[in-house]
């Protein structure tokens, strides 16, 4: 509701005459300016997201509140608070076996078992996460916008702190925007029971000799982007980003089964442990990712098609392609319906192994984390949104995600050939959002 620059066409002739008369009265040659705006309440976006994987795997309930307010002319403060609660079971990395398998939980203080032939899920998986971020956005000049921010998050075994800055500059009658961003993060991982010694075997109950201390990592992200208005109906965007991670990048809870190279049966673990041989994973201490992203947004008579593609490649040999399409159907000015489809495909990290073979030389790095394997993902969903009488909006979104992966080549030896070594993953996503306080 800023009217410091009211449209001249909207100004009645009376107003113009009054301005002239008042200037004459006050002996002014030019009318002054007025900078007044009604103090607006916070614009608040709230969202509740439920992510639920089938077969009792991970469930996440996430509550997110974002508040934004114009604190001074063109200067915005943005605060976000997020709360996540994760429950369920997460694949540990071990493969199914013909017998009951026993595992020591990360704390070293308890054990759990997995039935014969069943995927090895670590049921002790439970976490809550609280995250807070703040950003300040201000113009540096008429065409340049700066935003700086900080973020913090806390889980019982993970702490994140981050700083970020972004500068955007408009050119070409504001049809082109060039932006540059940088983000720095420092994360500390304090695994339950300490971080395991890389590739060391899982030990029996109460045996902590394989545990080390905390880990930490630094992540630096750079982003270079250009947004171009092509015409009244079309806008395109290209981004290049570089992300460098340095430090403890291993997942302290993930293990690999060590099996006989012929029979595929797990071999015996450390003497006296009563366990089969499982070793903790190990990943390189650096990871460089690069990605290219392109987006086209086009208006078709009030409805908007959005198509984007991302290519990501990293020095772990993970390459991924993401293609995403959204179409927003507007019904009048107050309701919309938006189908969404996303295709995802990635190659495996070079050190991805479904299992390790007994008596073979131990590799320097190995992980059986399915997220670093080769897989395809498909997401389909719909969203419905509606404006509220007070100028806010609510929306509901439902999506279904399905993921199909491929085990590392040559893994299905002996008994393993009869198991699903990369189980499909299906998940349901439901989100409800409510925005209020909009101008």
């Amino acid at each position: 509701m800023q009217l410091k620059d009211p449209k001249p066409t909207a100004r009645g002739t009376l107003g113009a005459s009054l301005t002239v008369a008042t200037c004459a009265l006050l002996g002014q040659t030019v009318p002054g300016e007025v900078m007044a705006q009604e103090l607006m309440p916070w614009d608040v976006d709230t969202s509740l997201l439920i992510y639920s994987e089938s077969d009792g795997r991970v469930s996440d309930t996430s509550l997110n509140v974002r508040a934004r307010k114009e604190m001074r002319e063109d200067k915005f403060l943005d605060l976000t608070l997020a709360f996540d609660s994760l429950t369920g079971a997460s694949p540990s990395g071990a493969v199914p076996a013909g017998n009951i398998q026993t595992f020591t939980s990360p704390s070293g203080n308890s054990q759990y078992t997995v039935a014969a032939g069943e995927p090895a899920l670590d049921t002790s998986f439970l976490d809550t996460r609280t995250a807070l971020s703040a950003a300040w956005e201000m113009p540096l000049s008429r065409l340049t916008l700066l935003s700086v921010g900080a973020s913090l998050s806390d889980e019982y075994d993970y702490e994140h702190t981050g700083l970020n800055a972004r500068v955007a500059h408009d050119f070409n009658d504001r049809n082109t925007t060039l932006s540059f961003g940088v983000a720095l993060a420092n994360d500390t991982i304090s695994p339950v029971g300490g971080s395991p010694i890389p590739l060391a075997p899982m030990l029996g109950l109460g045996d902590y000799r394989n545990k080390g201390g905390d880990g930490s990592k630094d992540v630096t992200d750079f982003l270079l982007g250009v947004t171009q208005v092509l015409n009244r109906h079309t806008i395109v965007q290209f981004n290049y980003s570089l992300s460098q991670s340095d430090g403890y990048l291993t997942d302290p809870y993930k293990i690999l089964s060590v099996v006989d190279p012929v029979t595929g049966v797990p071999v015996a673990g450390p003497p006296g442990s009563g366990l089969s041989l499982y070793v903790f994973e190990n990943r390189p201490a650096t990871r460089d990712k690069q990605s290219l992203y392109g987006l086209v947004k086009r208006d078709f008579g009030g409805n908007v098609l959005e198509a984007s593609y991302r290519y990501m490649t990293d020095d772990w040999a993970v390459d991924s392609h993401t293609l995403e399409l959204r179409y927003r159907w507007n019904f009048g000015t107050e309701k919309y319906f938006q189908p969404h489809v996303r295709f995802y495909q990635q190659t495996a990290a070079e050190f991805y192994r479904t299992v390790l073979f007994n008596n073979a030389p131990l590799p320097s790095y190995a992980t059986a984390d399915y997220r670093l394997g080769e897989f395809d993902g498909l997401t389909v969903g719909v969203k419905y949104g509606q404006a509220t009488a007070r100028g806010g909006e609510w929306s509901a979104r439902v999506e279904y995600y399905t993921q199909t992966g491929t085990p590392a080549p040559g893994s299905a030896v002996g008994a393993l050939a009869s198991y699903d070594l990369y189980p499909d993953l299906n998940a349901l996503i439901a989100q409800f959002t409510y925005k209020f306080g909009k101008r």
């Binding site: 006050l26 002996g27 002014q28 300016e33 900078m35």
Partner: protein, 275 residues
């Protein structure tokens, strides 16, 4: 000015701040002394007691009368500095003493800028007529004081009885925060306005009204009929570059009655109306 005046200064230098306050206060006092219709011997008093004789006025008064003449034109006769005599019939004291039509009819011959002979610097009123520049005076004083303060500092806000002007933002670029509320609706949703530069002026019927047979008579009088304007908002606050302009837009809009908001919207100005 019959209302509290304040000067807010955002400066570190105490002596400078005091100078600013003194300059503004002196100008407020000067304008009030000159334009108040309650001050015997001032130019308004001379005009109103001239008994049909021609009065020669000074430059400043002449500019104000020119302005009054232009407003009369622009408002098609609704803004009229000669309408003050109607107050002899209307006393807005919250009672039900609505005057009779005869009384008002008898006063109407004394109202009407078109009957005034004004050729700067000479002003001739018909005997019995009066002029009252009170509808312009307070806002004019704010703008005058602002012009004198401006060379000293722009980091100040002048507030003369609710009509106010920010010369510029506070130190550090922070705008001033001004509360706006309906003048006579207790508890009506107050608005908070950030004012970096420019003026806000409010016109309204405050607590001055009459009520008879369930009908409310607001104190904004239509000089053409002699009766209160019907269906006007209770108060209007307008933002404009100068306080005088903001005040005139607020007053002119109230004179439009039920079309007040539409009138302001057509002028392309920011306003806050309470009904």
């Amino acid at each position: 000015m019959a209302s509290p005046c304040e000067v807010l200064v955002s400066e570190h230098d105490r002596a400078l701040a005091e100078r600013i306050v003194n300059v503004a206060a002196a100008e407020a006092a000067r304008v009030e002394a000159k334009l108040s219709r309650y001050r015997p011997g001032n130019v308004i008093d001379m005009i109103n007691t001239a008994g049909g004789r021609t009065i020669v006025v000074d430059d400043e008064t002449a500019r104000l009368l020119d302005y009054a003449a232009q407003l009369f034109e622009l408002s098609e006769g609704r803004f009229d500095v000669t309408s003050g005599v109607l107050r002899r019939a209307w006393r807005f004291d919250g009672s039900d003493r609505v005057p009779s039509a005869d009384v008002i009819e008898a006063l109407l011959p004394l109202v009407g800028w078109q009957k005034v002979r004004w050729q700067a610097p000479q002003l001739t009123l018909e005997p019995g007529m009066e002029i009252d520049l009170g509808g312009i005076g307070k806002e004019y004083a704010v703008d005058r004081a602002a012009a004198l303060v401006r060379p000293l500092s722009e980091r100040c806000l002048l507030n003369f009885g609710g009509d106010l002007l920010a010369l510029g933002p506070q130190t550090g670029g922070w705008p001033w925060r001004v509360g706006v509320e309906s003048l006579n609706v207790p508890g009506a949703a107050a608005k908070e306005i950030e004012l970096g530069r420019g003026a806000l002026a409010t016109s309204g019927d405050t607590r001055r009204f009459l009520r008879k047979d369930g009908k409310r008579y607001g104190h904004i009088l239509d000089p053409i009929t002699g009766w209160p304007v019907e269906d006007a908002p209770r108060s209007i606050t307008v933002a404009a570059p100068t306080c005088t302009q903001a005040g005139m837009l607020a007053t002119l809009s109230l004179l439009r009655g039920r079309d007040a908001e539409a009138f302001l919207a057509a002028q392309g100005v920011q306003y806050w109306a309470f009904r």
